[in-house]
Amino acid sequence: MSDLDHDRSTDDALDVAPAEPTPRPSTPAGKPAVSIAKRQTNRRRVLRTILLTGGVLGAALSGFLPLVYAQKKRLRPPGALDEKDFLGSCIKCGQCVQVCPVSAIKLADLIDGVGVGTPYIDPRQQACDFSCDAVQCILACPTGSLTYHKPDFLPVRPGAALAAKPILIAKEKDAEPTLNLHERIGVARLTRPEACLAIQGKGFKGLTRGADFRGKLRYMSVDRWKPVKVSSHPYDVAECDLCVRECPVKGAISIETVFAPDGSKRKSPVIHEPCVGCGVCEMVCPVEPGCITVEAGEVWKI
């Protein structure tokens, strides 16, 4: 018979406490008295439950802390909402990653401090060059984290709005030459002017970023639809203007004549208002480290 009586869980077995010499303490509210052994078991179980609660909540909140103390801003894909709204709305599915033709979008890991599983772009490694023409990542996003049109209740930060829809140079002759973007994801800035080849009046010959660089770029002269490796495209320019040459957005950057502090005339890349922060200039800059970088989430200041 004992063989057949397995349907007792171990907890039921504990119900049957050994015969107790001490009288059971009476409990209030007419609850049945509980044995000491059972009470001990219950207490341990409560402690374990509290421990698990603490553990899981601790882990969950530790995933939240890097965001509170975020030191480093990361460049989000085009059409991203402002950082806080972006983090709240991103469902972390990676559909934006899947549609990007140049694999510019990566998903953040535990220690990146920008939210586990959220997408970001590291433009120095692979910039968004709008090879997809239509900003596919925005179309793929199921929650509106990446969007053409912000919902009404989300304000546009001053300077984040683009004065006009950016014109994609690759589509300039098309009927609809614009990218349907209304806000920039960042702004390029000449962070190390002293290293800039254009300012030094130098040219550039060879492979920008070297033969091992894996980044891709759409070269209209090679193929309208297929981005190729930057390392397969050598340059030979008398005065370096790679950032201007490869910028996909019309009027975002140009080489201008500027006056150096000593009064002499110099050539220098100058960033203009249409800059959306795609990061192509940062990717192609031939000096190491790059002298032009995109500041994520930065707005246009005159």
């Binding site: 171990t10 909540l57 969950a60 709305s89 549609v99 599983g117 199921p142």
Partner: protein, 325 residues
């Protein structure tokens, strides 16, 4: 449905939220009769021993389930890896040949955090809702969730170690899962950030399978370690809010496991293999209120009990349809 089964149904829902299963106060005369004849019936016991001795253990449902689970997750991986675009995205949100599918709990977290719902989110949530209402809510857990498979293997190790008396199962209060559900919902609402998604092993594993492994897998390993050495199936049983969300969705689902009292000999083998043994309290001797009792909404429809039952008392049923057959 009889009044007794209705009452039992309400109890089953309470059990899903963490209540302890209780002995029924009233049992139908037909079921009472069966219970009575089972008491001390030597012939029945002999028959039972015979049935057990001759019962071949089947892995039919387990194999089908593992195949489905691996296929679903592989389809995600291959869709991206080979760029065949059948099932794009990850388990949190995806598109199946263009149809939006969005995990209900992830969608809920996003809606609470962002407080704004766009059409695609609504469509995807609707599709998944209809799918899992039909299939049975927690079917997702055992038939799709990649963490479930790992936890199932971890559970095997745990049971082996427990048999060797190297570990003991430290049980916890099952109401904790409901508490976690509420905490994570409130955290999403208050912080405006999907706090749960950072530690969701389902999301982490799904992304790791599709986009490559990351350090976040350490958390999944920690959970598995905890389950192997301390508490059997702790995450699925006491913590995971995804399971509860799907459980609630599946309350009215037509696909379920049905228990037939007259064939059962109360060996309790089913309760030993079950991830959620509290849903099988009906099989305990003297508990069934009717001759046939459907198993409650917390059941993951994994089919392990169906495979294990030596007398065939537990089987899959589609409400309404099985009467047609």
């Amino acid at each position: 449905m009889s009044a007794l089964l209705k009452r039992r149904f309400v109890d089953q829902i309470k059990v899903m939220f963490g209540a302890e299963p209780s002995k029924p106060k009233e049992i139908s005369p037909a079921a009472q009769q069966i219970h009575f004849y089972k008491k001390g019936n030597r012939d029945l016991i002999a028959e039972n021993l015979h049935a057990r001795a001759h019962a071949g253990h089947s892995n039919k449902w387990r194999n089908r389930r593992w195949a489905t689970l691996i296929f679903a997750n592989l389809l995600f991986t291959l869709s991206f890896f080979l760029d065949i675009q059948i099932l794009e995205g990850a388990l949190t949100a995806s598109r199946f040949v263009g149809f939006h599918l969005i995990d209900l709990n992830s969608a809920l977290q996003v809606m609470l955090a962002h407080k704004h719902i766009i059409n695609n989110l609504l469509i995807g949530t609707g599709t998944v809702l209809v799918l899992w209402v039909l299939l049975g809510g927690r079917t997702f857990c055992s038939w799709v969730c990649p963490y479930h498979l790992l936890a199932e293997w971890a559970e095997k190790i745990h049971l082996y170690l427990a048999k060797k008396k190297l570990v003991t199962d430290q049980t916890m209060d099952r109401r904790l899962r409901t508490v976690f559900w509420a905490i994570f919902a409130l955290l999403a609402l208050a912080t405006g950030y999907t706090v749960y998604e950072a530690i969701s092993p389902t999301g982490i594993l799904s992304r790791a399978l599709i986009y490559g492994p990351g350090l976040a897998l350490l958390w999944v390993l920690a959970l598995l370690f905890f389950e192997v050495f301390f508490s059997r199936r702790a995450w699925c049983r006491y913590a995971c809010p995804i399971g509860l969300t799907y459980g609630v969705v599946g309350i009215v689902s037509p696909v379920r496991i049905i228990y037939k009292l007259d064939a059962c000999f109360h060996e309790g083998d089913c309760r030993k293999v079950c991830l959620v043994p509290h849903v099988l309290d009906t099989v305990i001797k003297g508990r069934a209120v009717e001759k046939e009792v459907p198993i409650g909404p917390d059941c993951t429809r994994c089919g392990l009990c169906v495979d294990t039952c030596p007398t065939g008392s537990l089987s899959f049923e589609v409400k309404g349809l099985s009467k047609l057959a």
